[in-house]
Amino acid sequence: MTEHAHIVPYRTFFIVWGLLLLLTATTVAVAQFNLGPFNVWVALLIATVKSGLVIAFFMHMKYESRLFLLALFAALAILAVFIGLTFFDVLYR
């Protein structure tokens, strides 16, 4: 069975690439300022936005069925549980 492919135009990918470069420059710029513990949180926030762009457009998640997104969030939830439980131990030892 051949499915009907959602063909993403080249332009969309160039725009996403431009945004990714912009966000990379932002993360380098922010790292020049000492924000204490916030540096790592800002870095993670920007990295998460970049990942979202890569997953949504380059990896076509935006055009897949909702099941794919649900599975992604399930995997991330499992990772969050691992991180949460680890820090529950590390922080309150």
Binding site: T2, A5, T24, A43, A47, V54, F58, H60, F68
Partner: protein, 201 residues
Amino acid sequence: MSGHEHRDDVGARFGMWLFLFTEVLLFGGLFILYAVYLHRYPHEFVTAGGELNVWFGGGNTLVLLTSSLCVAIAVTALQRGNTTLCLRLLGVTIFCAALFMVNKGFEWSAKIGHGIYPGSAHLHDLPPGEAVFFNIYYVTTGLHGIHVIIGAAVLIWTMVLIKKGRVNAGRWVMLENAGLYWHLVDLIWIFIFPLYYLILH
């Protein structure tokens, strides 16, 4: 065409995504390790992270983002039946993978030349927090480097299949899945770069 072909492209892509989730959990473990030790040795991590060269890390970020762009466009090109453009872009991606590994090679050689490598005498003399930083750095970037090599190999194999006409405008899921793997390599680097190279410069 006689015979009915059994194919499930959505299933094939979903299977690939499931595999990628296990990869996310694999690298997730290494990032948890990083987070725990960053929490324990915040100052040592900043000192050790300052030793890493932002230009190598930043340069490789540009290389990987651009290679991901090429793969994404290559998929569209194949779907539109533009096999020549598709193969050229995949060629550029392989070139980017090689460039990434050459960069990594120079970076690691410089570090090893300074006596910074797992189990070295110099690392043994450093404060424990700094030694831990470099050990996790080598494991994480090493595992990532292996993924770059595997991703490039899979893309080369896909190029062969495209040349043979076995992967084409009507059946492109192999390229999509190889591309998904390549984008994962990019995704992991998106987190490695700020956490290891930019930690308070």
